[in-house]
């Protein structure tokens, strides 16, 4: 296997890691309106339970995206340049959502005031829904191919990105991340929050199977390869398993299978793409491939060493963090707010 193949796989791994880890982070934020509804002090405590299930880890999860972006730049600069200049407006929306989300999560508890918190909640909700939908739209478009000219420039418009396949992709990521998040909340909480999250995951499981099932089958039929049928099967079986496991309130195993389903779908997208990285709908010879978009062999070699050395270290300490904060949370665990009052000194 050549270095370009290795780097294609590594990029796929980084984005898959991002979707699995931020998938439930987004899901947690997406559930604020329902699982954390109400304006009372109790409702606020419930929302704090939700938020604190991802409290110590969401920032590290988000770095998977930053590193994926950096790795894309280093290993496939042409892909990086065409993708981000081409998908300009969707990316702008994702970035604005992520900016607002970071500040809303981190600043929410700093002020003890209902209006302040409600505004932060809206920031978290907006910052979770927008990327959850748009990443699906973006990746479906990458697989589908876009109007790339001979100079590797995207010459389509914003609304060309909103085709049926891509919109189905957006619905898939939104629903699957919402399900992944509900299962994660059920796994990380106890008491009433857990009961409600289990109920929510039961409601979401069937629609998620239908929409995601349609998306992966479409992907396979239109863009798949012979062997990728296995990934469709894994994704499908995992989603069906989630339906059964949420019905049985086995959220631990359900979480394993939402993870497998997201990973299988992500791998399916990348596998369908290979060896292209951004197919052109105008002329196949204008497509960006791992050959014509990659860096030089020396850069790839240096980066391979760095990744081989650092990735296990990162996985080890991130895994340890999850272990340290493995405890389930309930409203009883949430301390009184130590935020400042708006009117004080």
């Amino acid at each position: 296997m050549g270095l370009q193949e290795i780097w294609f796989i590594l990029i796929a791994v980084l984005f898959t890691g991002y979707f699995v880890l931020e998938g439930f982070d987004f899901g947690v934020g997406m559930h604020f309106p329902v699982l954390g509804r109400g304006r009372t002090v109790e409702a606020d405590t419930r929302r704090r339970v939700l938020l604190n299930t991802i409290g110590p880890v969401w920032d590290g999860n988000e770095v998977w995206l930053i590193t994926a972006g950096g790795a894309l730049f280093a290993a496939f600069p042409e892909w990086y340049a065409t993708l981000f200049s081409g998908f300009y407006l969707p990316l702008l929306l994702i970035l604005l959502a992520l900016i607002v989300r970071v500040c809303a999560i981190e600043w929410r508890g700093k002020i003890d005031d209902p209006t302040w918190r409600r505004r932060c909640d809206w920031g978290i909700i907006f910052g979770s829904w927008v990327p959850a939908v748009l990443w699906g739209v973006a990746f479906a478009n990458i697989v589908r191919g876009v109007a790339i000219d001979a100079d590797k420039q995207y010459i389509g418009g914003f609304f060309d990105l909103l085709n049926p396949y891509a919109l189905l992709g957006g619905a898939t990521t939104a629903l699957v991340f919402a399900l992944h998040g509900a299962v994660f909340i059920a796994l990380k909480t106890e008491g009433q929050v857990r009961t409600d999250a289990v109920a929510m995951s039961r409601k979401l499981a069937v629609p998620a199977v239908l929409v995601a099932g349609a998306f992966v089958v479409w992907t396979q039929l239109a863009y798949g390869k012979g062997w990728t049928i296995a990934l469709v099967a894994v994704a499908g079986v995992s989603l069906l398993a989630v339906v059964a496991l949420t019905a049985a309130a086995r959220e631990g195993w359900a979480f394993v299978f939402t993870t497998v389903a997201i990973a299988a779908t992500s791998v399916l997208l990348f596998a369908s793409l290979f060896p292209n990285v951004m197919p052109s709908t105008l002329d196949p010879s204008w497509s960006l491939t791992i050959e014509n978009a990659s860096s030089s062999p020396y850069t790839l070699k240096v980066m391979t060493w760095a990744a081989a050395f650092m990735t296990p270290v990162v996985l080890a300490y991130q895994g340890w963090t999850y272990w340290v904060f493995r405890q389930r949370l309930s409203t009883d665990h949430i301390p009184h707010s130590i935020g400042l009052k708006i009117g004080s000194k």
């Binding site: 600069p77 990086y80 607002v100 981190e106 309930s330 665990h333 949430i334 301390p335």
Partner: protein, 499 residues
């Protein structure tokens, strides 16, 4: 405005904004780590209270630093795709390394630090904040190495077949002499910023407590005593720590700044000539302190105040016998080398940003000297002027950092990759060759969106930091957390911290 100007404004605004927050993070992480270490080593509660007090402001700042940093990772591809294609082979490597080595470390261990107060053994918890401090500084190194390639490209060759720069030595890229000078300079700037912040807030609180104590000494003797104890036992140590770090980082800034200037005279003579409004090549020119006039025509500038000897020393470490190239001569030389074009940066901005960067150091210097004087021999100050000075000094290093980066970046215009006079000739790119081919309206949309969102968040950031600084160390942080044992699940134990 065309797409080039809009893209330049957007990158400038987002980067200057990011770099208001970054230096405070770079400097405050190690300072908070030092405070916590003092607590762990000495067992004195006041260090614990200071760790919590400054730790909260550190986190408020960190959040916006992260939020504004995310944009930078993607903006190269969004707005500067031609640049990204040209240098991606080289420039991408330090960016990816920054993510792998530094961002993962700082974000993961910060989560452990915030939530781990009663979950982790004391020493392990202390290690997490040190890893955060190392992580934020490591990320600074990688991104400055990437920037230094744009100022002084090394470790790469030009491939005529692909028409792009290709990496030949990661070692040369990471030991670029420009990076080795710029990194300690930026870090010293970060430490000065954070130390001024700590000393300024500590100084303001000392005076406030002492004056309040004097007012209520007869009516509420106990409260007066408590205020005095805090001034002496809490804010004075914080201020002294800040002052010490200010002096060390101030010396560091001076030395590294001198090294950097000497490199710039050699590697980017146009930047230094325009910083001095030096029009024509001269031997032993004077250092200009004040000029008036139209700066973009350097012959139209009137030199009001000049000092001899300084400039030759800045350039080559000699007091005389140094010949420096002028803007007009360099322009002629570049036209010959690179073809017709305007190779002059904005002379007004380079001239004044250079002076602002150096001049604003006076804010920190005044606070450092005054602070050492009023706290000498165990004294606790109660002079009103000192509390005013403390507050006034806090923003000065932030402004100096911005001025310094504006000088560095706008001084390399019109280049986005400045040609290395002793490097590979073809590795050079002007900004108009690097920009993406977007409609102006597209970039105008993002420019307005980022500016508005950043402005709104910036106001909230300032309000929060001010509020937390004015509130002072809080009562619930008066006592260190008790046991670290998490085995007792029979009674739900509240988290030591929750969002």
């Amino acid at each position: 405005m065309d797409v080039l100007d809009l893209s330049r404004w957007q990158f400038g605004i987002t980067t200057v904004y990011h770099f208001i927050l970054v230096p405070l993070t770079i400097g405050l992480a190690p300072l908070v780590a030092i405070m916590q270490t003092m607590w762990v080593v000495t067992g004195k509660d006041h260090w614990y209270r200071l760790t919590k007090f400054f730790g909260k402001m550190f986190l408020i700042n960190f959040a916006l630093g992260v939020a504004t940093g995310i944009v930078q990772e993607f903006q190269f591809g969004m707005n500067w795709s031609e640049y990204s294609r040209f240098v991606g082979d080289v420039f991408g490597a330090p960016l990816a390394l920054e993510g792998l080595v530094a961002f993962f470390m700082e974000s993961t261990f910060l989560g452990l630090w915030i939530f781990g107060w009663t979950r982790l053994p004391k020493l392990v918890h202390l290690a997490t904040i040190w890893l955060v401090a190392i992580g934020v500084n490591a990320s600074a190194f990688f991104i400055i190495a990437a920037n230094s390639f744009m100022q002084h490209p090394v470790g790469a060759t030009y491939n005529p077949e692909t028409g792009r720069a290709e990496l030949t030595s990661i070692w040369e890229l990471l030991t670029n002499n420009t990076a080795l000078a710029a990194f300690p300079h930026a870090v010293a700037g970060g430490f000065l910023t954070a130390a001024t912040f700590v000393a300024g807030i500590g100084g303001w609180w000392m005076v406030r407590n002492m004056r309040r104590a004097a007012e209520i000494r007869t009516s509420e003797p106990e409260e007066a005593q408590r205020l005095e104890n805090d001034a002496r036992g809490l804010f004075r140590p914080a201020t002294r720590l800040g002052l010490m770090v200010m002096i060390i980082s101030g010396i560091g800034l001076f030395v590294t700044g001198d090294v950097q200037a000497k490199l710039m005279f050699e590697q980017q003579p146009m930047k230094m000539a325009s910083a001095e409004s030096l029009c024509h090549t001269e031997t032993d020119p004077n250092f200009s302190i004040l000029t008036i006039g139209t700066h973009n025509d350097c012959d139209g500038v009137i030199h009001v105040l000049d000092v001899p000897f300084v400039l030759p020393f800045l350039a080559e470490g000699e007091f005389s016998g140094v010949t420096l190239q002028g803007v007009e001569d360099l322009q002629a030389q570049y036209e010959q080398e690179f073809g017709p074009g305007n190779y002059k940066p904005n002379l007004f901005v380079t001239y004044w940003s250079f002076r602002a960067m150096i001049g604003l150091a006076a804010g920190s210097a005044a606070l450092a000297l005054a602070g050492l004087w009023v706290t000498r021999g165990g004294r606790v100050p109660d002079q009103k002027w000192f509390s005013t000075l403390s507050l006034v000094a806090i923003p000065t290093p932030f402004l100096a950092n911005s001025a310094g980066w504006i000088f560095t970046e706008m001084g390399r215009q019109p280049w986005v990759v400045h040609p290395n006079p002793t490097g590979v000739d073809m590795i050079r790119l002007t900004v108009d060759q690097g920009v993406s081919d977007h409609a102006a309206g597209t970039v105008l949309t993002s420019l307005i969106a980022f500016t508005l969102v950043y402005a709104a968040l910036g106001v909230v950031w300032f309000w929060l930091i001010r509020k937390y600084a004015m509130e002072g160390p809080q009562e619930h942080d008066a006592q260190p957390p008790g046991s670290n044992d998490d085995t007792d699940d029979t009674q739900p134990k509240q988290l030591s911290f929750a969002y």
